[in-house]
Symmetry: C2
Subunit: 381 residues, 2 copies
């Protein structure tokens, strides 16, 4: 085993932990299926047969249509060849990173999931952080920054870039000849982020790349796709990078996505949202009882950050303490990829889990926090 320190490594560790501990690390949906969703999964053999019978381009276009319509993206370039179905949004990001000019400088939202920054760095790009504050204040970098990378909504903070704000940013990138790259992996969970982004970007004349993801919406055991869409203005060798990475996503998975996306517009969204919000409430109540609070009370995505007061135990200590109680969560330092110290006062729990798991984890967190605080402040005899 080699040394690892990124968030996914901690998620892998939690996933492969053999002692039966609770895993609230990754943002993948691990909620129970609704009855309708369960009926869809029961039709998998039929989908398999359908994938054998029908032409791949038809299956793919249908999935793009159903999914993008379900999340409000009515102006997405369906049927133009400019939407590529990847195994995952991570692979889509890596394809973009590979297609960008080597050595170029891009600005990346900060904090955000460390993997996004890592993939760009590993491909030889120079990164500068764009803080959420600067982004909200419309303080965007000009050249030599040639691209701006947003996460929308942001992970872990849940920050949604409002429509008029995105329009201003798009116009900024047009003025400065920059590319705008948006990872919208959590978009499906948040109605506020479901305005027609493609229309806004095209109206501004932007050179845009958008990454969509089905992996955060449904508990489908990694049967998912990441979509990589790009503007007609984009001249990067994205198709080449795609063809170096894969031949095609699975048509069976695309058929599953089609069915789940249709259900998403027929109550599936509200069903999942209610489960997540019930879990968020459980976390809030458990931590407020010991004087802690949610860092992002307005967040609507399926993870929650908890703010830890200055002077008390930090998230790396609390993370270890919770591990010793059999609960995996994520300390937030790695999300602050350009300034890990900045994340020490936050810890993240995934809410896309059965209620009992979230409730137990939140209570464990509260108890651990109290114990650690007492140990720190207890008089020494």
């Amino acid at each position: 085993m080699t040394a690892v320190a990124n968030l996914t490594a901690m998620e892998v560790e939690a996933l492969t932990d053999v002692d039966g501990s609770l895993n609230l690390t990754d943002g993948h949906a691990r909620l129970a299926l609704s009855p309708d969703q369960a009926a869809i999964v029961a039709a998998l053999p039929t989908m398999f047969a359908e994938a054998s019978r029908r032409r791949f381009p038809d299956i793919e276009r249908e999935a793009h249509t159903a999914f993008l319509q379900a999340i409000g993206q009515h102006s997405a370039p369906i049927g133009t060849g400019r939407i590529l179905s990847c195994y995952s949004s991570t692979l889509a990001t890596d394809i973009v990173a590979r297609a960008l000019p080597n050595g170029s400088t891009i600005a990346v939202l900060h904090p955000t999931f460390d993997n996004i920054a890592d993939l760009f760095v590993t491909r030889g790009l120079s990164l500068v952080p764009l803080s959420e504050e600067d982004h909200l204040d419309q303080v965007w970098p000009g050249p030599p920054v040639s691209g701006i990378v947003l996460t929308h909504p942001n992970n872990p903070t849940g920050l949604v870039t409002p429509k008029e704000h995105l329009r201003a940013l798009a116009e900024h990138t047009v003025r400065h000849g920059q590319r705008l790259i948006i990872d919208a992996s959590f978009r499906g969970q948040v109605r506020d982020a479901q305005y027609d982004t493609y229309a806004v970007l095209d109206e501004a004349g932007a050179d845009w790349i958008l990454i969509e993801d089905t992996g955060k919406l449904w508990p489908t055991h990694e049967l998912k796709v990441g979509l990589l869409a790009y503007s007609a203005r984009t001249e990067l060798p994205i198709d080449r990078a795609f063809s170096e990475s894969l031949l095609s996503a699975s048509p069976v998975v695309l058929l599953l996505v089609t069915a789940l996306a249709r259900n998403w517009t027929e109550g599936g969204y509200e069903y999942s949202r209610a489960l997540v919000e019930r879990n968020r409430t459980a976390v809030r109540e458990a931590i407020e009882a010991v004087g802690l609070r949610l860092a992002d009370p307005a967040s609507q995505i399926s993870v929650a950050r908890i703010a830890l007061p200055d002077g008390g135990p930090d998230s790396s200590v609390l993370y270890q303490e919770m591990l010793s109680h059999g609960v995996h969560v994520l300390p937030c330092a790695p999300f602050h990829w350009a300034d890990p110290q900045g994340g020490l006062r936050y810890i993240r729990l995934s809410l896309a889990r059965p209620f009992e798991a979230v409730d137990t984890a939140a209570r464990t967190l509260a108890r651990s926090y109290v114990e650690l605080t007492r140990a720190t402040t207890a008089p020494v005899h």
Copy 2:
């Protein structure tokens, strides 16, 4: 759309061709399921439920065991943490390429699937070709080459590296402090390649990396995994590169692989092999009727190269002519990644297709070849 020229791009083009033409490009299995395999696919909803109930590490270990035992790899490091389940063998190769020291020089078998060379080049490595002739003559490079990359069996030639030969190569790499990287994606199709490679490499004391693939064996519509296994001697940051690429493969796919691998040892192998060999015979008979021959008559993998005599139409011309008749195949120049001219006299057909498709394609090839030859040699009036 950007300019593309690799083999996968041609495969994507064939897959997404909307006019209903025949696709004999990619080596992915698109045969009919056997009755036993169909029964396994029918159990997908049960597997989904099982994936929800059981722990991921147990499901993964079971899949590794079933698959690696089914293809004779009894000494693979199951349960050590040194076998990583990736979405595909391509992603496994890219993870290896990322983990290798930047700027190092590796030797790669030649010809072979261009994607292998491309992934290494894109990650900043320097490549030198190792011809099949030199490999067979045991003329292997020493330093500064720090790694040797084999495809076993090779694609498209079907060349199998015999056991004693691999042992000698492993000892060569130990003497020279080199790594040995083997892509065994087609191994499951060929008994001769199923000797226990892990035992041979470990006995020699080699620093090895092995890539296995379930994607070439079963017509499961891209529901597949690539396995990335590495030696205890390997000190590369492979786990880090893996965690940058994905969290985990799908446990549903791993359960499907387990069931299909068990069936592979109970008649599945013979069933698929009979279909492929019937198709190879159809190709041979169709082309021999017009004076052409199989380039690799001893090949046992699910693709066949056809040799084109000097002076006649080359494979790029024949490829275009077949396209005009609605048949997608692969010209072989890109397989000769270090010398594209060297591949002009070969054209490749996938045999993992329904008989009618292969038979039609072979007859189209024969007819196209005759027509092109006549056009070239016809007297001008």
